[in-house]
Symmetry: C2
């Protein structure tokens, strides 16, 4: 049984958990899209518990691979994500999270995390 | 020196390669968005060589984690992606690929890979 930092196994709906195909670290990428502009804002990472918290609290919640902890988008910046839709892809290995984003989505202050570096 | 299946190291622009932050498998997720509808179509995975091929051929080209080989979207289905933009995110660990998609993007025949399974 996996133990999480704040309790026992994730209480993610077992029917959803059974469809998730996680990477070796137990994560899936979550593509975050703005409900209004349809801009792709950012990509975060979710394990079962981050997905459970996102679905039940309606706030975009992710697992930080660098800090190895959960983070709620906007918890420090105030740039909260109000979650409108969550979709799982055909392979079960990627999530699409459609949000109403308060303020800029990027920690740099840019509207999206993809604004600064165009390769083509 | 890494050897690729079809030759020596990837010829990806070293200035771009230096900004890429790859996962332990050498990959980054590539979010594919439709240039016209702005729908998020799919997520593929790219290593340096897949990114190089995408940038130089203008066709969405990915690394298959299950088959361990490169694949060009539409090579068998005809549902080709004409690449319009490629952007790297603020952390250097995710790509956004904006495409003109011919036909459905999903192998199931759905317009996008996120059409079938809504969790919220």
């Amino acid at each position: 049984m996996t133990l999480w930092e704040d309790g026992p196994v994730s209480s993610l709906d077992p029917a959803v958990a059974a469809r998730l195909k996680r990477d070796p670290a137990g994560l899936v990428p979550a593509v975050v899209q703005d409900a209004g502009t349809h801009a792709v804002l950012m990509v975060g990472w979710m394990d079962d518990e981050a997905l459970h918290r996102t679905l039940t609290t309606g706030r975009g919640t992710y697992w930080s691979r660098s800090r190895q902890e959960y983070w709620v988008k906007g918890e420090t910046s105030g740039h909260v994500q109000h979650v409108r839709e969550v979709r799982l892809d055909c392979d079960g290995d990627t999530l699409l999270v459609v949000v109403d984003q308060e303020g800029p989505a990027c920690h740099t202050g840019a509207t999206t995390c993809f604004d600064a570096d165009r390769l083509l």
